[in-house]
């Protein structure tokens, strides 16, 4: 298990090794010249501020939605349960485009924060909802019997690790995002990286700047780790249902407003694109081909990512210790790097190490794994942590081989979590663009690349069907995710 986990984490290290090599070539003067400027500090500060604002907003909206859907008598809570997860299916660059083309003068820090919050609060909502359902009701009952209000004293502690994990993903996503922030025109750190590449064809400068994102990520990881180690054990209790708080109709407008912002605006804009222009997409066959190729690439990306995440996540859940913690954190370290940098690092790896795989779908899948390993590792380790290790020990004591126990006990128990991780990675791969453009096999068009092709030349009507199919195909695993959590 340990060696498999070490090998899996090595994939997440490819971008770091690449950064190390290229930044090393840059020389010290160049590095200080790029990083130690007022502008770099300003942009990094703005990126951190944006990440903080969006993360707080996502935690508030995500936790409130999760609580309302799982713990109250809210009318239509099953519908809201699915609606709250669906924004995951909308790529943030599509949402940003939708807002910019619908609302005049939509630009700047707070507008970007709005779009990013609307797209990423499900990263908090989903794990928190699962934790609220899975938490042992007995603890709350004890608190109540002792005369305490259970929400702050017990429930918040039970869901704190889920909030921290979700919040971390949101923060890293905001740091790495380029598409949405560039469309909404807020000058953040990724802009500096892309400016170096786009304006000066200066790869080295861009990569030197990217190391700042790695440093910011390390700081965030330390912060999240501190909440995690202080978190209470949150084992799954019996399957009794929790007492539901009476809220009636009052919160319905809140949830409806969130959905209208996160889903309604993109839906309205897509519908308008359809009728606005005369540019037309190619045949239905082209859309179908792009959809099926997206599906194949995302499915393969999901499988590869999951295979790599299993040993890391299980090690983390079953033999916690310094090694497991380090391997788990490594998966996150490159998560704040923009897709373009990850893509270039895999070009470097493909050319130098795995040339037969270069520009094949396999290297693309490996890039997806390097990008999205944290999503799967988190899902696997929290699922494995909630299933009692004693069951595996019993099987071992009855003389079964480790492999047999893994196959017949560990995996089935963790299966829902593994499935959730796979679905999350699948739909994130569907939306990925910059690394896909660099690494796809020549002539391999996906929904995301076709969408880029058409929006790049301002053919919105032609782009609309690809965006629509992309959202619909991504909505399926999203819907499954929320359904799976018994929401």
């Amino acid at each position: 298990m340990k060696s498999a986990a070490v090998a899996a984490s090595a994939v997440a290290l490819i971008p770091l090794v690449y950064l190390g090599v290229r930044v090393g070539e840059a020389g010290w003067d160049r590095i200080t010249g790029e990083i130690l400027t007022e502008r770099t500090a300003l942009l990094a500060g703005r990126s951190v501020a944006l990440a903080a604002v969006v993360t707080v907003a996502c935690v508030v909206i995500g936790v409130a939605s999760a609580f309302l859907v799982t713990r109250t008598d809210l009318p239509g809570r099953r519908v809201f349960g699915v609606l709250a997860a669906l924004p995951l299916a909308v790529p943030s660059y599509v949402a940003a485009f939708a807002w910019v083309s619908t609302v005049d003068d939509f630009e700047g820090f707070w507008d970007a924060a709005l779009v990013l919050t609307a797209c990423s609060y499900p990263y908090v909502y989903l794990p928190v909802a699962a934790a609220l359902i899975g938490a042992d009701p007995a603890q709350e009952e004890v608190a109540r019997s002792l005369g305490r209000r259970p929400f702050l004293s017990v429930t918040m502690r039970q869901i704190r690790p889920a909030i921290a994990a979700g919040g971390l993903l949101v923060a890293l996503y905001v740091l790495s995002d380029f598409g949405a922030v560039s469309i909404v025109r807020v000058d953040v750190f990724t802009r500096a990286i892309f400016t170096s590449i786009n304006l000066g064809f200066d790869r080295t400068g861009a990569l030197v700047l990217a190391t700042v994102l790695v440093l910011l990520t390390l700081a965030l990881l330390v912060g999240e780790h501190m909440t995690r180690t202080r978190g209470a054990r949150y084992a799954r209790g019996s399957l009794r249902t929790h007492a539901r708080v009476r809220v009636g109709w009052i919160p319905v407008p809140f949830l409806a407003l969130v959905s209208a912002v996160a889903l309604g605006v993109p839906a309205y804009a897509l519908a308008r694109w359809f009728v606005a222009g005369v540019s037309r997409p190619g045949s239905v066959a082209e859309v179908v081909t792009a959809a099926s190729q997206s599906f194949v690439a995302a499915a393969l990306g999901g499988v590869v990512t999951l295979l790599l995440a299993l040993p890391v996540g299980l090690l983390n859940a079953r033999s916690p210790g310094p090694l497991a913690t380090v391997l788990d954190r490594i998966a996150y370290v490159s998560h704040a790097l923009p897709g373009l940098v990850i893509g270039l690092s895999l070009v470097f790896f493909g050319i130098r190490v795995a040339y037969p795989l270069y520009q094949t779908i396999w290297l693309l899948a490996l890039a997806y794994a390097a990008l999205f390993l944290p999503l799967a590792v988190g899902a696997v380790s929290s699922a494995a942590a909630q299933s009692p290790p004693v069951l595996e020990e019993v099987a071992r004591s009855l003389g079964r081989s480790p492999l047999f126990v893994f196959r017949s006990v560990t995996v089935p128990l963790a299966a829902p979590g593994i499935g959730a991780g796979a679905a999350l990675v699948f739909l994130t791969c569907m939306k990925e663009l910059p690394a896909t453009l660099l690494l796809r096999p020549t002539g391999f068009d996906t929904l995301a690349t076709e969408l880029w092709t058409h929006t790049d030349t301002a053919e919105f009507a032609a782009a609309a069907p690809y965006a629509l199919v992309l959202v619909l195909v991504s909505a399926l695993p999203t819907w499954w995710l929320s359904w799976k959590s018994r929401l």
């Binding site: 786009n198 000066g200 222009g277 540019s279 020549t442 002539g443 092709t453 030349t457």
Partner: protein, 343 residues
């Protein structure tokens, strides 16, 4: 499940088999009836042209589409092992960056001979395919013809306060600023950048957005390449005359009328590839040039091919006397644009 695995394998295998490198180091030009092109120009514009080429020659084109700058970075990362035979780029700057790393071979003399000196690399490593003029696009409801500026330097005046759109992260804007530096010196160029910034220039992510905002009346004027109004007209299903967005070509050799190129370079490993050669000949031949003139509304660079109707002829433009080869000091331009705070 089985069909998924089968199709995955099939995709993987076809992708692998497409990798076989063409034979090299032979004195005679070799042909395997296949050429691999990295295109930094968009699929919508390039695909029909490639189909015509295949029809005419029987040579299949394997083409990767991407962003010009990201593709240049990819080529630099790939080095000698790049699968590419030909790199087709949006602007001369990207070609220069790849040439500087020694990845292009010198183009044959008869290819270079088709295009005048200002539109090709001095060392013969890249050649322009089409010309694009910098223009001022203006909304004809908001700006009268008599009010149009005679020089980009007029745009720092109070009459253009908050009215001008620019796309400073765009390669064509950056080439234009480099030209300003070459023509007027660093101090004046920086003064101009500071001037338009102080005058409330509106930053847009690309030329297309500027033209869209000028058409919609959100901006009065913008600095763009000339053909974006034709793209706008096409997307809106109108003729270019029906648009409110009109073109103003700066007169008297003003830097604002810089003519830049899209172009191509031949990768070293393909120096002997007959198919790559045929491809280059096609783009610089009558059919290829005519396609660009009529479909993308760019200027043909090879003599004898007519410009699209409604556009002033390339020779009639009062372009500044600037050699594109002198626009190779991108780093300094980038540093300047960043320093002023426009990108």
């Amino acid at each position: 499940m089985r069909w998924i695995i089968a199709s995955l394998l099939a995709v993987g295998l076809t992708a692998c088999s497409a990798e076989a490198p063409p034979a090299q180091n032979q004195p005679e030009p070799v042909s395997d009836k296949k050429v691999t092109v990295y295109s930094g120009r968009s699929e919508a514009l390039i695909k029909p042209l490639l189909e015509n080429f295949t029809k005419a020659t029987g040579i299949t084109v394997e083409v990767r589409y991407g962003d010009t700058a990201a593709m240049a970075a990819q080529l630099l990362e790939e080095g000698d092992k790049s699968p590419a035979d030909v790199y087709l780029a949006q602007d001369a700057g990207a070609l220069g960056a790849v040439a500087k790393k020694g990845l292009f071979t010198k183009l044959p003399a008869d290819v270079l001979g088709k295009v005048t000196d200002v539109y090709k690399s001095k060392s013969g490593e890249w050649v322009g395919v089409t010309g694009r003029s910098r223009v001022l696009v203006y909304n004809s409801d908001l700006v009268k013809q008599a009010e149009l500026p005679g020089s980009v330097f007029d745009l720092t005046g109070p009459e253009w306060k908050d009215k001008l759109g620019i796309a400073p992260t765009n390669g064509s804007f950056q080439a234009f600023v480099t030209a300003l530096r070459v023509q007027h010196g660093d101090n004046e160029a920086k003064g101009w950048l500071n001037g338009i910034k102080a005058n409330g220039a509106q930053i847009r992510p690309n030329n297309g957005q500027i033209v869209a905002d000028v058409e919609a009346g959100k901006l009065s004027v913008g600095l763009v390449n000339h053909y974006y109004v034709y793209e706008r007209a096409k997307a809106d299903g109108k003729t270019v005359d029906a648009l409110k967005a009109k073109l103003h070509f700066f007169p008297n050799g003003d830097t604002g009328a810089l003519v830049n190129v899209s172009g191509l370079g031949l990768m070293k490993k393909a120096s002997n590839d007959a198919d790559a050669r045929a491809f280059i000949d096609y783009l610089l031949g009558a059919d290829g040039q005519k396609y660009f003139a009529e479909k993308t509304y760019e200027y043909p660079l090879v003599a004898g091919v007519a410009t699209a109707a409604g556009l002033p002829a390339l020779a009639s433009l009062k372009a500044p006397a600037i050699d594109l080869n002198d626009l190779d000091t991108l780093q300094a331009t980038v540093a300047m644009i960043k320093e002023v705070g426009l990108a």
